[in-house]
């Protein structure tokens, strides 16, 4: 069930009504409704996935309970290992088994030893990387005694399976989300309206920007050998907007939907394409994943405290693992590696924490330097996206090399209707403008509800609705569902 589908448009109001009417003043009942709705939502992809999430929930709940009463370090470590092995084992099997098998076979063949093995036909359960990380954070926090284990199984199940963020995040920390399932939740009108506004903006990003940019990006990437370098660069730029609109749009819809149920989720994107360097980009892009890796991988590895070489090693580890998290393909690892390379110079010059504020926070326009920095950073991320989108490593390399060939200096051309290209470019420009105006807020149009007069506000909402209608494409799956 996709957020941008008719099915979800029917599902959401039903769950919302049941939640607030039946569950009024009854937290337990509200949690039951959330769990039932979430399992229905998740089961709509494939009911077999429910067994996995249920298993993961029960294991982590039980491990948490035991950790709460166990004081012996060895026993505690053993319990933590159970959780790590179960969660990472499931993730490893469903997501990476064939990748490792294929690569082992290739490596042995390279060394002159022929090995025969059949690939398993494994279906990747939707969102497994997201809820695995979410439950792992719970066990690790309980192990480290940063969090008290929960005794409320239903609240814990709701925390693991909460449908707005179940399949593509934001990856919530138990310390932030779990307590919200203990507390009374009372309907808050302004919060709900704010949630609707964020959903509307998320839908705009997904349907108008991402799905339409996807048509052009797909055309160019799928036929990259037919196009000159200039067109390929254009394709990479369209993909940059596709993936941003797609994933940040999903996050906006998830956060907005959660607010309808009185739950606050963490901000996942903070206008990353206005970043002035790669370090700032990673503080603004997929925040919940970056901070997860920082807290549960980078810092435990020693972070930047153990000298230059170990810090460099840690940077590469975190970026390569982050790439690998996205998918079992070398293209994602190269993508992560490129980001590590882009990050390294600013780390070595110790300017990675230089841009922690909002760009041009006191001005309407950026300075020339800021503009140059933003364009440069966007350029680097766009080049890295090529590998993220490429079908395989060879495709990525040939795409990359064609951009840097003499054909870059020809006029871009594309076999696609101008009826889509020109309005889409106009939409992207308008989109950047609105994002720029709202760059200090949690999402671009947050302030509209507070500042604008009703008639202007409504006119703006109607324009967004109208764009949604005009640019409606086929229900396209969110890119991050595959991760």
């Amino acid at each position: 069930m996709l957020f941008n589908s008719i099915d979800f448009a029917i599902f959401l109001p039903i769950v919302f009504t049941l939640y607030w009417y039946l569950g009024k003043n009854n937290v337990r009942l509200q949690n039951y409704i959330v769990v039932l709705a979430s399992y229905f939502f998740y089961g709509s992809w494939d009911w077999r996935f429910l067994l996995l999430i249920l298993f993961s929930t029960l294991v982590d709940y039980s491990v948490g309970r035991r950790l709460g009463i166990e004081e012996r370090p060895n026993k505690r470590k053993f319990l933590l290992w159970i959780s790590l092995i179960v969660n990472l084992g499931m993730l490893g099997f469903f997501k990476y088994f064939n990748f490792f098998q294929d690569n082992f076979i290739a490596a042995f063949t390279f060394m002159g030893r022929d090995i025969q093995a059949n690939s398993l036909n494994i279906i990747l359960p939707v969102g497994i990387s997201f809820y695995t990380f979410q439950t792992l954070s719970y066990t690790i926090d309980v192990y480290k005694k940063r969090l008290n284990p929960t005794r409320d199984l239903m609240a814990f199940t709701a925390f693991v399976s909460f449908f707005p963020q179940l399949v593509a995040g934001p990856i919530e920390r138990a310390s932030h989300l779990l307590p919200q399932f203990y507390k009374d939740r009372i309907f808050d009108y302004s919060k709900a309206v704010d949630g609707m506004r964020q959903i509307l903006w998320g839908l705009f990003k997904k349907i108008v920007i991402a799905d339409n940019a996807a048509q052009l990006a797909n055309e160019i990437f799928n036929n990259s050998s037919d196009y000159p370098g200039s067109t390929l660069l254009l394709g990479a730029i369209f993909f940059a907007f596709q993936i941003y609109g797609d994933f940040s749009g999903y996050s906006d819809i998830a956060i907005g939907t959660a607010r309808l149920f009185g739950i606050d989720l963490r901000q996942n994107f903070a206008f990353p394409y206005f970043s002035r360097d790669i370090a700032e980009f990673w503080r603004r892009w997929h925040i919940s994943l970056s901070s997860w890796f920082k807290d549960y991988l980078y810092i435990p590895l020693g972070g930047s405290r153990n000298g230059k070489w170990l810090s460099i090693r840690n940077i590469f580890i975190i970026f390569l693992v982050s790439g690998f998290w996205h998918g079992a393909n070398w293209t994602f690892i190269v993508w992560g590696g490129l980001h590590a390379l882009f990050y390294l110079p600013i780390f070595l010059f110790k300017i990675n924490r230089k841009n922690t504020d909002v760009v041009a926070s006191d001005n309407i326009f950026p300075t020339f330097l800021e503009l140059y920095q933003m364009i440069f950073t966007f350029g680097l991320t766009t080049l890295a996206w090529i590998f993220f989108r490429a079908n395989d490593l060879n495709h990525g390399i040939s795409y990359f090399l064609t951009i840097f060939s003499s054909s870059f200096f020809t006029l871009p051309r594309i076999n696609y209707s101008k009826m889509l290209i020109l309005p889409l470019i106009a939409m992207i420009i308008g989109f950047i403008f609105i994002e720029w105006i709202g760059r200090k807020d949690k999402y671009a149009i947050e302030k509209i509800g507070l500042v604008w007069k009703k008639k202007y506000r409504m006119a703006f909402y109607y324009s967004l609705f109208f764009m949604l209608f005009l640019f409606l494409g086929k229900d396209q799956e969110f890119i991050y569902f595959q991760f």
């Binding site: 008719i6 009504t17 607030w20 009826m419 409504m458 609705f465 109208f466 209608f469 005009l470 494409g473």
Partner: protein, 319 residues
């Protein structure tokens, strides 16, 4: 919470109403505005799919305009005729009725969403409520997208004052290839091409009947034609084709050019003529029109006789 629900429902309803009104207004406006102007000397139209598209060279057949289009279903031919019928000098329309219009392959042309979506952008201003409901029944899930794309394209065209879709209406498309030898070799080697399942004929010819009724209402003569096909072209549903002609289509003349004598090298494949074949056939057809085919009482018989004459002539030439 009640207040929230009431307000959201109000906003959504008012938005849906606005969109509905907008779509209807745009539909009416475009219907009035679109105007396909046909040259005065073109009195006859050729309609259908790729077979007539590649067979009737309207540069040779002087009074004809070929508006056949590859993979066009009768549903869209009907919309096209509604728009073009504003040209009051049109005397007759020739509509392709060949064996493949009763196969699942042709039904695909109206089942493939991307294809229908593309064609709807061009033809939607001429669709009646009944046609729109027909499309909705075929694509209940994607229907909103269909309306959305048509609205967007028509809105842009309205702004740009593009009042004709001439370039999207089809036309004679010369085919330069000749694959008959390789196809015959394939057949000799026993390569079996999958026979397409036959369809419920009532569904296939639903819109053909609508075309015939519509043309009869506005006083344009209609003829069913079958473009030349190679001897090896699959005619497994010939009986069904003839059966429909005898019953549902009994009031329309059927001009059958199926066995028109052409050499292998004049075909692109078993179903399509190449440029050479189109020249031979179109020259002959032009003569037939000039000799008063449409004024004759028994047109089908005249076609038969003329084909036979031409066959003998060609045989004589070859001897």
């Amino acid at each position: 919470m009640k207040l929230f629900i009431v307000k959201i429902v109000k906003v959504l309803l008012s938005f849906v109403m606005c969109i509905f009104l907008f779509v209807i207004s745009l539909h009416c406006l475009r219907h009035e505005q679109l105007n396909y102007k046909l040259d005065k000397e073109k009195e006859y139209l050729i309609m259908g799919h790729s077979h007539p598209e590649q067979a009737f060279d309207d540069g040779i057949i002087l009074k004809c305009k070929n508006l056949a289009k590859s993979a066009e279903n009768y549903f869209f031919t009907y919309q096209k005729i509604k728009e073009i019928s504003g040209n009051h000098h049109i005397k007759a329309i020739f509509i392709e009725y060949s064996n493949n219009v009763l196969t699942s392959g042709v039904d695909q042309w109206l089942s493939n969403f991307d294809r229908v979506n593309k064609a709807s952008q061009v033809h939607s201003p001429f669709m009646s409520l009944e046609d729109i409901i027909y499309l909705y029944r075929r694509f209940p899930k994607e229907f909103i997208q269909l309306v959305s794309t048509s609205t967007r394209v028509n809105l842009i065209d309205l702004i740009l004052q593009r009042n004709s879709f001439k370039s999207n209406y089809g036309g004679f498309t010369p085919n330069t290839v000749s694959n008959i030898d390789s196809l015959l070799t394939e057949q000799k080697q026993g390569v079996q091409r999958k026979e397409e399942e036959l369809l419920d004929p009532n569904e296939s010819i639903l819109y053909l009947i609508k075309i015939l009724d519509y043309c009869s209402e506005i006083g344009i003569k209609t003829f069913l034609i079958r473009s030349p096909q190679h001897l090896k072209f699959s005619r497994s549903n010939e009986e069904q084709l003839r059966g429909i002609l005898k019953n549902e289509l009994k009031n329309v003349a059927f001009l059958d050019f199926d066995r028109f004598p052409l050499l292998d090298e004049e075909y692109a494949d078993f179903g399509h003529l190449n440029q050479k074949g189109a020249v031979v056939f179109s020259t002959w057809f032009n003569t037939l029109l000039e000799n008063g085919l449409l004024q004759k009482d028994n047109k089908a018989e005249m076609v038969k006789v003329e084909i036979e004459k031409f066959r003998k002539k060609r045989e004589g030439e070859n001897d």
